[in-house]
């Protein structure tokens, strides 16, 4: 990556992230796609680093999916979000951290809208009171969960068992970082590093020993885009966007892709299978795909957690070539064994994309 100019942008776009006492809200879809990610976030923050992270079983969706699919008006989303803020207030917290990028964008947009139109905030307070007799304070600090891992990146690096170094060549691993669109494209000042070259994931990769690749379509959407995917007639558009990104990054031979959004890792992972089946093309080495990881999964890997305990067997693209490069030990036979060695059953292998 060429650093000239970017360091100036990064210096301008820094946000204050408190070190401790966070109210954590989960994502609607991440727990189904990559269930290990959120579990490992809490494991690392709470148990390993000893920070205070509170979560409640009473929180709901933020309404972001319906909002971005144009099926509910913003006032409805605001009232849902106001209830989440009420839960935070009742629990005695002031710092709010969201696991989902769209939730983070949603909260940022709503807080900004209330700042611009205070009468709307008053209306939402009334609606919330009528609906469930709750009151709320606006969070003092709002962060995305990747902001927190970014903040703790050096602590994680200090405890790391592995570095992002190719053990065969001794070179740093080449990483593509992909930031969810709703992280900083709507409000660049609310993301670490701004919208053009966000530093949040690049900072983690560098701290853990890897090299970030700068490629032409780096800021391009992964293709999920809610309406592009959820409407079947538009799915070709979703796939085409992902295809465009992979074609653009292919000449740089990335070892893995790091993401901080619920949709991006899923679609960049699964669409590699679809591209392989329809076009016969794979983007990794020797017929494999390029592994796509969430930042929690990567943090867990460098910290030495078992790859199968953090749910890497749920990725479509095989992660074993990456684990071999880093030198992470794993038991191939245990890949599809669940809790208490329960057999999760081996999925059928794809025709073109090579999997282990």
């Amino acid at each position: 990556m060429i650093y000239q100019g970017k360091q100036k942008i990064w210096a301008d776009y820094q946000k204050e992230i408190p070190d401790n006492h966070w109210f954590y809200v989960r994502s609607c879809i991440r727990q189904n796609f990559f269930p290990g990610a959120e579990k490992m976030f809490l494991e690392i923050c709470r148990n390993l680093l000893g920070r205070d992270f509170f979560e409640t079983e009473y929180h709901t969706t933020c309404g972001g999916i319906a909002y971005h699919c144009d099926t509910i008006p913003q006032e409805t989303v605001m009232t849902i979000v106001a209830r989440q803020f009420a839960l935070m207030t009742e629990a005695g917290y002031e710092n709010y951290v969201a696991s989902c990028i769209t939730s983070f964008g949603n909260y940022t947009e709503i807080i900004e809208t209330w700042r611009e139109f205070p009468e709307l905030e008053t209306k939402i307070r009334e609606l919330l009171w009528k609906a469930c007799r709750r009151e709320f304070k606006i969070p003092k600090y709002l962060a995305h969960a990747s902001d927190l891992i970014y903040k703790y990146r050096n602590e994680i690096a200090a405890r790391a068992k592995y570095r992002l170094i190719n053990r065969h060549t001794g070179e740093p691993l080449k990483a593509v970082e992909h930031i969810g669109c709703h992280y900083a494209k709507m409000f660049p000042s609310r993301g670490v590093g701004g919208a053009e070259y966000p530093y949040v994931l690049a900072g983690m990769i560098e701290a853990w020993g890897g090299n970030v690749i700068d490629y032409p379509e780096r800021r391009h959407c992964c293709g999920y885009g809610f309406r592009q995917y959820h409407v079947k007639a538009n799915r070709g558009y979703s796939l085409s966007n992902t295809h465009k990104k992979f074609e653009s990054m292919e000449p740089y031979h990335p070892d893995f892709i790091l993401t901080n959004c619920p949709g991006c890792p899923y679609f960049m992972d699964r669409w590699q299978y679809v591209i392989a089946e329809t076009e016969g093309k794979t983007y990794g080495e020797n017929g494999y795909g390029i592994p796509v990881l969430t930042y929690e999964e990567l943090a867990s890997l460098v910290l030495g957690y078992d790859p199968w305990d953090i749910g890497l067997q749920l990725h479509q693209v095989a992660v074993e070539p990456l684990l071999d490069k880093i030198g992470i030990e794993y038991d191939p036979k245990a890949k599809y064994l669940g809790l208490d060695e329960k057999d999760l059953m081996k999925p059928e292998l794809p025709g073109v994309l090579r999997c282990c």
Partner: protein, 110 residues
């Protein structure tokens, strides 16, 4: 395998591969072609546009992007009524420009 959807062909245009010789010739003949700011007034005033897809704004853009066939096929629908000349905020003699495009990019030459 048929998933019910597929990859759409990329609409990316590599301008390095576009031959701009004819457009430069057009520019020599009609220097005003560079005055167009693509406001679309010509297209909105065009009586043929609604029915045939004719749009002078699109024609100029297509010529700059090397899509000559698209431009010429659109121009076939022009009736040379001159309404576009009347509304152009840059005062481009659009009717003359259209005739020059036809002369340089005439179908037999594309």
């Amino acid at each position: 395998m048929d998933f019910g959807f597929k990859i759409s062909p990329s609409s990316t245009i590599n301008l390095d591969l576009v031959d701009t010789g004819k457009f430069e010739e057009l520019h020599r003949l009609e220097p005003d072609v560079y005055k167009c700011m693509a406001c679309g007034s010509c297209s909105s005033a065009c009586p043929a546009g609604n029915f045939s897809g004719m749009s002078l704004r699109k024609v100029i853009l297509a010529l700059q992007r090397g899509k000559e066939k698209d431009a010429v096929s659109m121009l076939k629908n022009c009736m040379l009524c001159g309404k576009c000349s009347m509304v152009c905020p840059r005062g481009i003699n659009t009717r003359h420009l259209i005739l020059s495009v036809c002369r340089i990019y005439g179908e037999d030459q594309v």
